[in-house]
Symmetry: C2
Subunit: 276 residues, 2 copies
């Protein structure tokens, strides 16, 4: 069991840490003083045009970021390049209407050379961040992408990390950040997964802890969070977090826009109350 | 817990399986009808010239293959390129004396781009195989290296796989082979690790099983095997195996050559008896 991990400062000569971290992602999103609000493109099986339509809807409803579901790879029904182009165009179109930018986060997956090409394509097409699953693709690849000059801020997805005999704060809170994740997605307590509140708190604290060599990274709690629990999350994580609410929004069916809009307003209101 | 895994044949359009497998590694080693015998370069901390001297000794004593310890990375005291050049020269020199080839297997580790350059260097320098730790470097990188036209046969080391909640025959016997390992190293029962004989037998069977799309791969039992146990290993694994005996040989101290020579003869004798 990997219970904890510490490394001396010289190790950070080759461990990049987050490219931009919390401050940089906040600047990209244009959001201060409250958590960022994000969602995921679901369900699996939709073509790029349908995912792009969802992007447009979420962007107009006020989301800060929209990420691919981590199951979205490079399937014949939804190739990476076509998806990224369509989704970026949709958030740009929405941005011209709303006057607000939205970060679309494509999922990188495949052999390392393919992932490098996906990242290059996404960046050239205008993406401001991307997502990777380090326990599938390898932590050294995360470090490589985080180190390259022409990269992007990276969201790290926990897929495959749950089968490790490793304490989640050590793996997701320390190693993921040290190897270069700007934001780390993990299952919040009480959702579909079995993490305790204590584990989630320790994980978030590790991501945001002061460190002499690397920037703080965003905790991004996710994993079946219900819209109704947003007040609890705001209180538990405070403002330096990215709240990822996906499936629960879709349960509204046709009312997806209204449901998203209400969530956005609830977060904004709670943040305003916390300030006053 | 990952208990088992099956994939339909179309998945093997992108899963390369072993480049040369058992038959190809046998051809490279020039060995038929008996297990291959290999050892590891130890202890950590030696410079390239000292490791090269060990290579020469093991080659003259009749080993079939000599692998880097998996802890050998790219340390200042033993840089990858200097080590590979020195060790290859040593086994070539020995080969001119003995008239027999020996396979030196360098350890690839680092970020994916660095590993690709290591492999390219090793191949250009004359290496006939290389080793990688897929659970550190990522299974997709193993598949990429196994797929590239100008690659090398690959030994897969189990490092970091022990922290997975995965049944060893599924992870090491199936996934490692499918993703491209020609030989898979694993801890034999009764050594420093806790695998049962049943687990080891199932793992070896999975590596050698007939498969419509991929070649069989060599089981390479290791992990603190005592020289004295070689008869048991020969009986347990039969001839299609690579027996890796490292630390136990070094316990002989000054008598390393004689001890290695005796082991080589014991394996040859046992194989001859099995045939007669």
């Amino acid at each position: 069991m990997l219970a904890d991990v510490e490394l001396p400062e010289p190790a950070f000569a080759w461990l990049p840490g987050p490219r931009v971290g919390i401050a940089g992602l906040r600047e990209l999103a244009g959001v201060t003083g409250r958590p960022l609000l994000g969602t995921a493109l679901k369900p699996m099986g939709l073509r790029p045009d349908r995912l792009a339509a969802l992007c447009g809807l979420f962007a107009r409803a006020g989301m800060d970021l929209i990420k691919d579901d981590h199951g979205l790879a490079d399937h014949p029904f939804c190739p990476f390049e076509a998806r990224v182009e369509a989704c970026l165009r949709a958030v740009e179109d929405a941005g011209r209407e709303t006057g607000r930018g939205v970060i679309y986060v494509p999922n990188l997956i495949g052999m390392p050379d393919r992932i490098a090409r996906q990242l290059e394509f996404a960046r050239a097409a205008g993406a401001k961040a991307a997502m990777i699953s380090p326990m599938i693709s390898g932590l050294p690849l995360l470090a490589q992408l985080a180190s390259q000059p022409d990269g992007l801020p990276l969201f790290a997805h926990p897929a495959f990390g749950g089968v490790l005999r490793a304490d989640p704060p050590a793996l997701f809170g320390k190693l993921f950040r040290w190897f270069g994740a700007d934001a780390v997605i993990f299952p919040h307590a009480g959702g579909r997964f079995a993490y305790s509140r204590e584990t989630c708190g320790a994980l978030a604290a590790a991501l945001r802890a002061e460190h002499p060599c690397v920037r703080p990274a965003f905790p991004a709690p996710a994993g079946g969070i219900k819209v109704e629990r947003v007040a609890e999350l705001l209180e538990f994580y405070g403002s330096d977090a990215i709240l990822l609410i996906g499936g629960s929004l879709y349960e509204g069916g046709e009312a997806l826009f209204e449901r998203t809009r209400a969530l956005v307003e609830r977060v904004a209101r709670a943040a305003a109350e916390a300030v006053s």
